[in-house]
């Protein structure tokens, strides 16, 4: 096992606390360092790892091929500036030395040696940052960003830069209410999880930060698993079943989602950080192998179906539980 692999395992946010999984409003305060059997994660709201440059290059490629992954309704410009000015200081603190933020009132200078970025802009002055604050933010962090506006007693997904969606489309969902975005998710309605989550988010006060995890599975280290590219990756769900490389190709995909009430615009900033670990990498931690095998075997069929696991689920369980 190489050093890079073990670092990935050590930092992996393994999401299962028990041998079964159901939907819940599993929010907890952010920035709680979480210890796992293999290492730990979770000290900050942003996460930079060894794949930083590669993932941002991939984001650029996705956006160049399909600009609809970045959406910003006109009234969300203030929120976009707010997200940028809230998170750049966080990134500077996370990577001191390689990133530098200099603030002179509203005149900000940003240097990022990891990417070779050097920009100066004036907060709120659109002309000083032509690509827009949301796109610029997305060029500096591995996370996907969704900005929710709060009005009329609801949350609205009115802006976002999402290049690594797991089977949804920011381009289609932009402008939907929170409840509408989650409309197609089955079973979750009976338990009231989504309305409770929305109520919780609407009560967040400026500066409050929470987080939760979400999971699914992806074939290959494919970050862009969006509805847009489904035509390309859909077949892999079937093809992987008979592939001897299955344990290297099938990945547990975990999203660490941070939920932040932005201080100036009052928008909710939703950061989605995607982590992929192959079954073989996962299996280097025996507890994880056993637990994920149990979760997958026990998962109700409709949930497995919604998560897109049905075709390869049995093969995955077989491999995980083989001694």
């Amino acid at each position: 096992m190489t050093t890079a692999l073990s670092a990935r395992v050590a930092r992996f946010p393994f999401p299962f606390a028990t041998d079964s999984y159901r939907y819940s409003t599993n929010v907890e305060p952010a920035r709680r360092p979480t210890t796992t059997v293999a290492g730990g994660w979770g000290s900050g709201v942003l996460d930079v790892d060894d794949d930083y440059a590669a993932e941002l290059a991939e984001r650029r490629a996705v956006l160049a091929a399909d600009p609809t992954r970045c959406q910003e309704l006109p009234h969300m410009r203030v929120a976009s500036w707010d997200a940028l000015t809230t998170l750049l200081p966080d990134l500077a603190a996370l990577c001191p030395g390689t990133t530098v933020l200099d603030r002179d009132g509203d005149r900000w200078t940003w240097r990022n040696e990891l990417l070779g970025t050097a920009r100066t802009f004036t907060v709120g002055d659109d002309d000083s940052l032509p690509e827009g604050p949301l796109a610029f933010l997305g060029s500096q962090i591995q996370e996907d960003v969704v900005l929710l506006d709060q009005r009329e007693g609801a949350l609205w997904a009115d802006a976002g830069l999402v290049t690594f969606a797991a089977d949804w489309s920011m381009g289609f969902d932009v402008g939907m209410r929170f409840l509408e975005v989650h409309g197609p998710v089955p079973r979750v309605h009976e338990t009231g999880v989504i309305p409770r989550a929305e109520q919780f988010l609407m009560r967040l006060q400026p500066g409050e930060e929470y987080r939760r995890t979400n999971w699914t599975m992806t074939v290959d280290r494919r970050l862009d698993a969006s509805t847009e590219t489904y035509a390309e990756w859909g077949r892999d769900r079937r093809l992987v079943v008979d592939d001897p490389a299955l344990p290297d190709r099938l990945h547990l995909r975990v999203e660490v989602q941070h939920l932040i009430r932005l201080g100036v615009s009052n928008a909710i900033c939703f950061l989605i950080r995607t982590h992929l670990l192959s079954l073989r990498e996962l299996a280097t931690v025996p507890e994880w192998r056993a637990r994920f095998g149990a979760v997958l075997a026990e998962l109700p069929d409709d949930m497995a179906d919604y998560k897109g696991l049905t075709r390869f689920r049995a093969a995955a369980v077989d491999w995980l539980t083989a001694s």
Partner: protein, 170 residues
């Protein structure tokens, strides 16, 4: 199950009445049945309130342009009522929502849900179809067979489609 969370509009079995608190009302009827409804509505608008009625066969560019102009000149207290096939009502509603009209200021009566527009995320074109939700229709843009999904964009006035046989192909 989960009706209140779905993005697919549920129109209800009863036709809405004009909002009694409205100060001025714009009624837009699409097709013969839609226009019959707007005629009934204009009789129900509280007396003395200005009412304008637009009639069109469908939500074409010219009627949507008139709607846009009316919204730009309207004052708070204005209400919009739309009647006709779902595909036209959704298109007109999309224009109104994008112009800043609130859900609370719009009431809709849908006469049929046969026709719909389906958005293809693979080639990003929108196709008109009569396929029901859950079934398939070919995409005008890329030719793929699209599954018509129970997910509707209020901004686009369209259903989401995705490649129906993506997991089958070699």
């Amino acid at each position: 199950m989960g009706a209140e969370h779905t993005s697919v509009p549920r129109w209800g079995s009863e036709r809405p009445a004009p909002d009694p608190s409205a100060r001025t009302v714009l009624l837009v009827g699409f097709g013969a049945r839609g226009c019959a409804i707007t005629t009934a509505w204009s009789a129900d608008v509280p007396g003395g309130r200005p009412v304008e009625v637009l009639a069109a066969d469908d939500a074409d560019e010219s009627v949507l342009a008139v709607l846009t102009a009316r919204i730009a000149g309207a004052r708070v207290g204005w209400r919009l009522m739309l009647a006709g096939p779902e595909v036209d009502v959704l298109a007109a509603r999309a224009v109104a929502l994008r112009a800043g009209v609130l859900d609370a200021e719009i009431r809709c009566a849908v006469t049929s849900t046969d026709r719909k527009r389906v958005y293809c995320p693979h080639c990003r074109t929108t196709t008109a179809t009569t396929a029901p939700v859950g079934e398939e229709t070919p995409c005008d843009g890329c030719g793929r067979r699209l599954h018509v999904y129970a997910h509707v964009s209020r901004r686009a006035g369209a259903y989401l489609g995705f490649m129906a046989d993506a997991e089958e192909v070699a």
